[in-house]
Amino acid sequence: MLETYKPQPIDTSDVELSDELRELAELMAKNVHDVWAQARIQQGWTYGEERNDREKTHPDLIPYEELTEEEKEYDRSTSLGTLKLILKLGFKIER
């Protein structure tokens, strides 16, 4: 019976977000990045052009604004997905 668990995450592809909420997603993405970076720095990691686990260097230990567009897209998409989910679950997000 347990083998038949087929997870079905909610599809949010039909949810539209206003410009305001897109900006909110950007702020959330930045915060997620800062949380990750702070933890890394506290563990003794520093900036390095290439990731090196032995020397604890990571190329993403830079301000969110300086990440590549590709990396920002990835972070943004997570926040955008969360906001869409909140709307889909029947809630409003407003100031």
Binding site: L2, E3, Y5, P7, Q8, P9, I10, L24, L27, M28, N31, H33, D34, V35, W36, A37, Q38, I41, T46, Y47, E49, E50, R51, H58, P59, D60, L61, I62, P63, E65, E66, T68, E69, E70, E71, Y74, D75, T82, L83, L85, I86, L89, G90, F91, K92, I93, E94, R95
Partner: protein, 341 residues
């Protein structure tokens, strides 16, 4: 972001790179790998037949330092690029021009009051293979400064704002350009990057640069449009030199310990359950199935159950993430309310 191991380059990607068929993003991926992976670097260099290095004219043989002529230098240069050589991996240059990458770095040392010996730097660059007959490959610009303890970031697809921000933060900027476009040489047929310059400031209509063939005190102002056109030849490749990565002090918003509005309990559960399902989809795609005890070799995981079947302890993991997300939205100035309230 993170945690998985670095992706290795596929043979197809390497072959495409050598043929010059990669997208700028792919090119950057390969060039970054070349920076640290000697095997990759050797393979690619072999494939693009870089064995014919020749001997770089050693201007230091008689102990004299190189003198540079004022700009612009009229060269009758014929580029030694062959069909198999990539614009991105080569700097087409001849005689005194092949040192432009080194000269840009020396200028930065001069600006930062770092003592240097021109001959010594050239020898180091040659010995480390950062300097070739045709100049410095783009991915090595900055290595001399890196050696002196500076941080270097190399990036394609940069833009003017990136340059402005770097200058504002007292970082140094070297860009790869096409000199024929930059200096308006008539009948320029080549469009690949063949030159490096240091950018000092960006104005509304002009860009002030240091041209490595000039004396350190000399500046040139280039029309903005011309600068952009010549920079685009390198897909807007930029090298940034900076000293203080600790200057980035991340300050995430502090979550307070105030409990959430109880009206939002449904939302917390909804987000938590969805996060669990998303996680489960990934594990199942990797071939995992339910097992009482976690076993990564047999790919078993005890949490591969419907969310409702999980214990509170397991649910709390996802709930915590959901609560933090809602609190973050609140702290950023937004309320979350049920529709129809």
């Amino acid at each position: 972001m993170d945690i998985l191991s670095k992706p290795t380059l596929s043979d197809e990607l390497i072959a495409a790179f050598v043929d010059g068929r990669t997208t700028p993003k792919e090119t950057q991926q390969v060039l970054r790998a070349m920076l640290t992976d000697e095997e990759v670097r050797d393979l690619i260099e072999y494939m693009i037949r870089d064995n014919d290095m020749g001997d770089i004219e050693d201007e230091c043989e008689d102990g004299q330092t190189v003198s540079v002529s004022p700009l612009p230098v009229q060269t009758n240069k014929t580029t030694s690029l062959s069909e198999t050589q990539l614009p991105m991996a080569k700097m087409a240059a001849k005689s005194e021009e092949n040192l432009c990458g080194v000269r840009c770095e020396e200028f930065i040392m001069y600006k930062r009051n770092i003592p240097f010996d021109d001959c010594e730097l050239i020898q180091i660059a040659k010995a480390n293979n950062w300097l070739r007959k045709d100049g410095v490959p783009l991915f090595y610009i900055g290595e001399l400064l890196a050696r002196k303890g500076y941080y270097v970031m190399r990036r394609y697809e940069s833009n003017l704002d990136d340059i402005k921000r770097a200058i504002l933060e007292k970082e140094n900027v070297i860009v790869a350009v096409n000199s024929e476009i930059l200096y308006d040489k008539k009948d320029h047929k080549k469009t690949e990057p063949n030159h490096a310059v240091v950018v000092l400031s960006v104005g509304p209509d002009t860009v002030t640069i240091f041209e490595p063939l000039n004396k350190f005190e000399e500046r040139i102002q280039v029309p903005l449009a011309k600068f952009m056109l010549s920079w685009e030849a390198s897909h807007c490749y930029m090298v940034k030199i900076f000293t203080n990565p600790e200057g980035y002090t991340p300050q995430p918003i502090q979550m307070d310990s105030v409990p959430l509005n109880p009206d939002l309990t449904d939302l917390v559960e909804g987000i938590a359950e969805n996060a669990h399902d998303v996680w489960a989809v990934d594990r199942i795609e990797e071939g995992y199935t339910y097992g009482i005890k976690r076993d990564d070799d047999l790919k078993k995981h005890p949490d591969l159950l419907p969310y409702s079947a999980l214990t509170d302890k397991e649910k709390n993991y996802d709930r915590k993430m959901a609560i933090n997300t809602i609190k973050l939205v609140n702290l950023l100035g937004y309320d979350i309310v049920k529709k129809g309230n």
